[in-house]
Symmetry: C3
Subunit: 206 residues, 3 copies
Amino acid sequence: MRISRKPTGARFFELFAEIGTNIGAGVEVLREYVRAPHDRRPELAARMHALENVGDDATHAIIEHLDRSFVTPFDREDIYRLTSRLDDVVDHMDAAIDLATLYRVGELPRGVETLVDLLCQAARLTADAMPRLAEPQRLTDFWVQVNRLENEADQVYRRLLSELFDGERDALEVMKLKDVVDELEAAADAFEHVADAVHSIAVKES
Amino acid sequence: MRISRKPTGARFFELFAEIGTNIGAGVEVLREYVRAPHDRRPELAARMHALENVGDDATHAIIEHLDRSFVTPFDREDIYRLTSRLDDVVDHMDAAIDLATLYRVGELPRGVETLVDLLCQAARLTADAMPRLAEPQRLTDFWVQVNRLENEADQVYRRLLSELFDGERDALEVMKLKDVVDELEAAADAFEHVADAVHSIAVKES
Amino acid sequence: MRISRKPTGARFFELFAEIGTNIGAGVEVLREYVRAPHDRRPELAARMHALENVGDDATHAIIEHLDRSFVTPFDREDIYRLTSRLDDVVDHMDAAIDLATLYRVGELPRGVETLVDLLCQAARLTADAMPRLAEPQRLTDFWVQVNRLENEADQVYRRLLSELFDGERDALEVMKLKDVVDELEAAADAFEHVADAVHSIAVKES
């Protein structure tokens, strides 16, 4: 007999769902940032930073709930790992925007929009998966799709780098843009790490 | 009484052995690439990419086998971790070649060959260790040697960087070459992470 | 009834305390390096490297003790993880100094001293926490403070980058200094990973 983990886990799943929604909001700010005129950048950077703080609060709420809970829906260390990987996603999106603003980079190369589109798709999948964590085995589609997106992002990222290097930009501008693009790529990786953490929970439970 | 884990684990160990062999093939392409004239680069990049796909298939086969297996030779999460770390090795070798080809980098600095030689040695040790995973405690030599090689690779990598920076190359060319060399160094790290994953399994079983 | 883990763990806690002390010594060399005239750099780099070797020896001593111990104060894999993360701290500090010496970088930007100050604080907290590992639940303050310091380090790091890029340095010098600064930032991250490993042990035990 398998005891439903719904009752004991309800609060955890709520918090994970909140984090998923927050990631969705973050990726929308990112999408807007990429297309925005330069004078709107500081305002959007501030909005992203506020979302990063919301994410931090939800992260701490999960850890505190973990400390107080006698029974948990998954192994404690798996909840802990998933939480910190979700946190990484917003951290990297925030870093990308923060660096672009701080460096006052000029026109972003075209591939950046494609990369951000892939992040939007990964964010949507993640926001959809979080409220369904109670049945991790049914999330196969989630991790398969996110892994596929990360592979695509990798290709886009490499084309983007070669676009950066072969363009008419000077070396310092290339370095700045590369820092920004590296953070976007790290965000794509972070989504994959979230998916892997969920997959690993499902494997354990199977 | 210790029950032999041979029968239940046989399929896992076969798949790990396959991955070990595949890594060995990848490192040979890498060695060839480093010495090849530029017009052969795209062909070698394609060969490496094909090996990366073989590795992905073996990775998925292990995960699927994990999903279907009731009894596993090690903890599920350890098999999962080892698999994804082995995957990283070929990913980084593939990235190195892909970037070098995409960027059309010129002459590779001499230290690159030394670095690739160390990767060849680590690959050989890994290919040898994989079929013997059933007795992880007997693989002490494997992780000690791979850790030693990673330390050496680290030294070679740093000398290589200072060679890059002190040479007569312009800044953009240095950035491109550094990206390639960073991936080779990441491959050396990835071998160490594989060795650590095996070590960690052995520690758990001891 | 909870059996005290003091007797079985004593040797582990001694070794962790040694590593904590060693990290404290490393960060002092780093602080001296930042202010030292260039001709003292090789000597300080050698001192840091010696400390890195001491750290490696303590790391191996813990792993060997783990291999020989029948009973351990925490799960084996947690001891293993904490050990390797502590090792990373000194590795990154050593890399920062090694690269700065090898590259013969000029004047370090002012923000570097601020960053090193934060590392000193994290080192002190870590050295204080290590001898108290027997009661991980009482180390809340440790991981909260280290996480706070890492957030601060992140801010300082980004301002430092923008200082680097907006200055009058040429591209190659910027790349060299960035490599050094990246290792310092990685050291701050490594302290956070140590704190997270301790937190994760506490969560498991709670």
